[in-house]
């Protein structure tokens, strides 16, 4: 009885000591995961997730405060990559891609003030002062920053129309 008690106590104390030392010696400053997650995120710092930029989102993800589906411009591709990195399961069956959008300039009311041009995080807007601006479809991430600053509401996010090239089959509907 006594022998068992003492041996277990000693064992417990020893292991506790080892753990305590290890925690001090091998302490990691910051989370290395965060950097890896930043690499996956789009990096346009659009803030649509509600965190201060992609770094903030990555930190929240690493701490488990945010779901992997937090990034609207990233869509399913990013959600999948995040889930793979974090080792979590993600059910995308329920996750629908938001309707793809892009900014479009209504040329009649654009005054060429260059404000949108200055805030665009991906340089997707071309134009110069006093000239009508236009948007590169391939570079626009639909972050909406241009929409916020436009004084004449001439630049707006519009859904990208489905074309013959981008059309694809819907998921088959099955009886339950």
């Amino acid at each position: 009885m006594i022998a068992a008690l003492t041996s277990l106590t000693i064992l417990g104390a020893f292991l506790g000591l080892v753990l305590g030392i290890a925690a001090r010696v091998f302490k990691v400053e910051g989370n290395p995961l965060t950097a890896e997650l930043i690499a996956i995120l789009p990096g346009s710092q659009c803030g649509q997730c509600g965190f201060p930029g992609c770094a903030g989102a990555a930190q929240a993800l690493a701490e488990g405060r945010a779901p992997v589906t937090l990034c609207p411009p990233g869509g399913r591709a990013v959600a999948l990559a995040l889930a793979a990195k974090l080792g979590t399961e993600v059910n995308l069956a329920g996750m629908k891609d938001a309707v793809p959008m892009m900014a479009e300039v209504q040329e009649e009311i654009c005054i060429g003030c260059t404000r949108c041009f200055k805030v665009c995080p991906t340089d997707a807007i071309v134009g110069a002062a006093q000239q009508i601006h236009s948007v590169f479809r391939e570079a626009c991430t639909a972050c909406g920053k241009c929409e916020e600053v436009c004084p004449t509401e001439s630049i707006k996010l519009q859904p990208i129309l489905v074309t013959l090239q981008s059309w694809r089959w819907h998921k088959p509907v099955e009886a339950a």
Binding site: S44, P73, G74, G75, L92, T122, T141, P172
Partner: protein
Amino acid sequence: MNLFDLRGGIHPEGRKNLSAAHPICALPVPKRLFIPLQQHIGAPAQPVVAVGQNVLKGQLLATAQGALSSAIHAPTSGVITGLGDCTAPHPSGLAVPSITLDSDGESRWIALIATADPFQLTPEEISQRVAAAGIVGLGGATFPSALKLNLSHGVQTLIMNGGECEPYLTCDDRIMQERAAQIMQGIQLIAHAVAAQEVLVGIEDNKPEAIAAMQAAAKNTSVKVTAMPSMYPMGSEKQIIQVLTGKEIPAGGRPADIGVLVHNVATAFAVQQAIVEGKPLISRIVTVSGGAIKVPCNLEVLVGTPMQELIDFAGGYVQPAARLVLGGPMMGQQISNPAVPVVKGTSGVLALTTAEIGQAEPAPCIRCSSCVRACPVGLLPLEMAAHIRTANLSGAVNLGLKDCIACGSCSYVCPAHIPLVHFFNYAKGDLTAQERTKLKQESTKKLAEERSERIARIERARAEAAAKRKAAREAKERAAAAKLTTEAV
């Protein structure tokens, strides 16, 4: 000639007798034609005509945009009345840019340049003329034929596909029976263009008349006409190569990788017309059939003719059509608007009844593995569909989703009526979209990084400039102060 074994395959009810006995008959020229600018794989053609312009039959309407594209010619003479959108012959029913041509009913040809001795032409000249005639693969894939010729120079075997394994379709059957001599000349021209060492024509044994006609035409040539067992999907490129040569195209590769080139027999006819007579591809043979059609038939149709005209010519419906299909029933596409035009790749117009479609509500999979036995590629359709159902696309890709040829054999045999091939095409589309998104994200990320770097650089430059200005100002002040001091002294 000995044939090689195929894996899987199915034996759907042929229903070719509906239209097989009807000789090809030319459809009268319609009043208005809608000619899509994209009737081929690749970039849409660029129009070279203007609204109001008069054109002659065979005149160039739109030029190819790059190698993976194809030219489009006026199917008849008349006046261009529009450059705009029309409903695409596609299940989505979306718009496709197209040219509207009102025919003048005279069918006046442009000046045609006939070639007396086409075998004097060099391979380059042949492929140039094939490209200029706007010829694409008429089996349904609509790959630009000239590009295929250029990529396949020096192949060992040229295979001419007369399989026509899709039920209902008899257009290739009829063209082989009625125009065997021209087809044979076209075949020899293609063989000449790619310098093929052997030429095989594969025809399913359910078309004995076509085999006889082609064999008669092949007499005194080196072309070998072979009867193949009737089985779906015998007319698929991968399968016809396997059955005739025993070779397999490496995964992700092309037939040229194993020294083979496959062309459809109807394409050979188009090549012969283009090289010998100088006529561009402006019409094709279309089978109009199905249980709802009064008089199933084979028609020679101008490209751009609305589908409804074909159905009307065939006597209309004897009973309501449950589904209109362009192409064959196994891989064809449902069309909801009968005003869509016939294009270069349209092999059939089918009006099917509910009984013919045989659709039922999907039931649970009982893992009977009928689909595994039917798959000509050796995939596990049931497992792939299970992965896709739970949005596990990478699981499906690991099982070989990208090797799927979408022949539909699995869906056809499934006793539970699970839309297997629909799952696969949905997943393939989803994968493409995801890849596209990923590429875009990578590029936008780079743009964002470049921008922040540039802004930082500008800031730095500005700060440096400010510091310089400050230093200069201070130096000036100091100098002034020094001057003052000296003056004071």
